[in-house]
């Protein structure tokens, strides 16, 4: 199990001192979940016994911007701010 690659995919940083514990925990958990019968199917995962209805295309008012931004760690000029995404 490539803990480093998984952590990168999940955007988690596992500090050196916690790495060994995480690795052994994960190995234990994976050992537990590997107890599965041999089942396979070529088809996609579709459940015809459980289907949904679709929504009508009708407009409802959006939420005021100050409420939308109230929880944002940083907002400027009506926008949410993130670290620069391009050089």
């Amino acid at each position: 199990m490539d803990i480093k690659r998984l952590a990168k995919l999940a955007r988690l940083r596992i500090p050196e001192e916690k790495y060994a514990k995480m690795e052994s925990d994960m190995e234990g958990i994976v050992r537990m979940v590997e107890n599965l019968p041999d089942l396979s199917s070529d088809g996609a995962l579709i459940d015809l016994n459980n289907t949904m209805e679709l929504r009508e295309d009708e407009i409802k008012p959006s939420t005021p911007r100050d409420e939308i931004l109230a929880n944002a760690p940083k907002a400027v000029a009506g926008c949410i701010v993130v670290p620069k995404t391009v050089e």
Binding site: A10, V30, V33, S40, N71, P73, P83, T85
Partner: protein
């Protein structure tokens, strides 16, 4: 009269007979919270002002001679993963320590519409991941029956608050047993409804295909009352919700067939739990029910399927906590990736991180078929096995937990041991069935033991009715004096 010890049904009667005002009830609840919280620690936020305002409104309704809705003036505690507009909703995580939702969950809208008095937000395992309530970022909750022990989880705060008579009713959520386990540990009644019976809109997602909001109460009637208030299709907000007909509650169990799935009474179930559950089964037999043995052969695999499906969905559901739009944000000085990683590794606790890692693993390229797809196929098999078993019986009885409440700290260092606590409850979520946990006696150290009733989809009316028969037969459930 000790107002707090009244059931919700009794409170409702007192309001209608003008013996009590909603404000008196609300104040009694708030005082009780003040008194016992130091020991129990069931609440993360107490909303005193909102509660008193809601109670005043109900009193005005009474004064105006208006018809009251069933839950008008009844105090209700809300698990802190159910969004409440303007009241912080933390999921017991550092990640959402200061998150104040701009909207109400559908269940909250329904409770407010009835005039229920929401007294506060209850403690839980972080993002509902855990079976002991010890995974809260803020504090552990204690079991009112023995404060050195856990209340169970993840809805430990909701169960403890009801058991300690801080509120007569509360809402929890159940993904693998998170309502039934703490109900059993705390000696109260807890219902995990049929998947889709209650709208999930506003319930912060852990595992979307397994999560359901469920009610706690000290009596079966109280749980019934709260379930009736929150259930129903929510077309505008939840595509997975469905309309069910629960109105008909059975009144006797005579002639009903009760199945005992043999896989639930084997190794790993403690002797006292097995004995208490079987004693309750005898009670049903005495009431005229037929007891038969049934089999659910895939049970040994359920834990695997559950942890794969739940973790996979969680890893995706929790991707949104990235420090951008809401919640905790780590150091912003570096690159975007730095911010993501700092935010998520500092904002989430260890258990949440373990599950995100597992979920990422089982969905990752090359492993999807071996884990996720296989688990989903197994899920279909498990559902089929239940369907078949329900051709032979009307509902089943099993233990809720293998043991009574364990000590705080006892299992925290062994995630797999902790996961084993869910072994009797997870199948119900995997098959999307209703599961009801009711007290069936006390074990060593006066600790409550729970009994689980499992029925076919949409059979809440049968389960609640049959539970009420048992409750009446045993003369009601014990309440802990504090």
């Amino acid at each position: 009269m000790d107002i707090c010890k009244l059931s919700a049904t009794e409170m409702a009667a007192c309001l209608r007979s003008h013996e009590l005002s909603a404000t008196e009830i609300a104040k009694a609840s708030l005082e009780r919270i003040q008194k016992v919280e130091g020991t129990v620690d069931a609440f993360l936020t107490v909303t005193e002002d909102e509660a008193l305002a809601a109670a005043a409104k109900v009193d005005a309704q009474i004064a105006a001679g208006e018809q009251l809705a069933p839950l008008a003036g009844i105090p209700v505690g809300i698990k802190d993963n159910i969004c409440t507009k303007g009241v912080r909703t933390t999921c017991a995580s550092r990640m959402l320590e200061n998150f104040v939702p701009p909207y109400d969950a559908t269940v909250i809208e329904k409770l407010k519409a009835q005039g229920a008095v929401l007294t506060g937000k209850t403690n839980m395992d972080e993002f509902a991941m855990g079976s002991s309530c010890e995974n809260s970022y803020f504090k552990p909750t204690r079991n009112p029956w023995d404060i050195t022990r856990v209340p169970g989880g993840s809805s430990g705060g909701s169960a403890a608050a009801v058991a300690a008579c801080e509120v007569p009713l509360s809402l929890g959520s159940d993904t693998g047993g998170s309502v039934r386990c703490p109900a059993s540990f705390c000696g109260v009644v807890g219902l995990k409804p049929t998947y889709g019976a209650v709208s999930r809109y506003g319930l912060v997602a852990f595992a979307s295909s397994l999560d359901q909001i469920g009610p706690f109460g000290r009596t079966v009637d109280d749980v019934s009352l709260l379930f009736d208030a929150i259930s129903g299709e929510d077309k505008t907000h939840d595509a997975t919700s469905k309309a069910g007909n629960f109105a008909a509650r059975i009144r006797e169990v005579k002639g009903l067939r009760i199945g005992l799935p043999k896989e639930y009474f084997g190794e790993g179930i403690s002797e006292e739990v097995r004995a208490a559950v079987l004693k309750a089964v005898e009670e049903y037999r005495a009431m005229g029910a037929e007891i038969i043995e049934v089999s659910l052969p895939s049970t040994p695999y359920a834990l695997s399927a559950y942890y794969i499906i739940a973790s996979a969905e969680a890893s995706s559901n929790l991707g949104r906590y990235d420090g951008v739009k809401y919640g905790f944000c780590g150091d912003r000085g570096g690159s975007l990736t730095d911010m993501y990683e700092t935010t998520r590794s500092e904002g989430f606790g260890d258990e949440v991180q373990r599950r995100i890692m597992l979920g990422t693993y089982v969905l990752s390229s090359g492993y999807y078929d071996a884990y996720y797809k296989r688990a989903k196929l197994l899920q279909q098999n498990i559902a089929k096995e239940f369907e078949e078993a329900f051709t032979k019986c009307d509902f089943m009885i099993t233990p809720v937990n293998p043991t009574t409440a364990f000590k705080l700290g006892e299992n925290v260092n062994d995630p797999v041991a902790m996961y084993m606590a869910d072994v009797c409850t997870i199948n119900v979520n995997i098959a999307g069935l209703p599961g009801l946990s009711i007290p069936c006696g006390l074990g060593k150290g006066n600790l409550p033991i729970g009994l689980q009733m499992i029925g076919p989809k949409w059979s809440e009316g049968v389960l609640l009715g049959a539970a009420k028969c048992y409750e009446t037969a045993v003369g009601g459930f014990a309440v802990k004096e504090m």
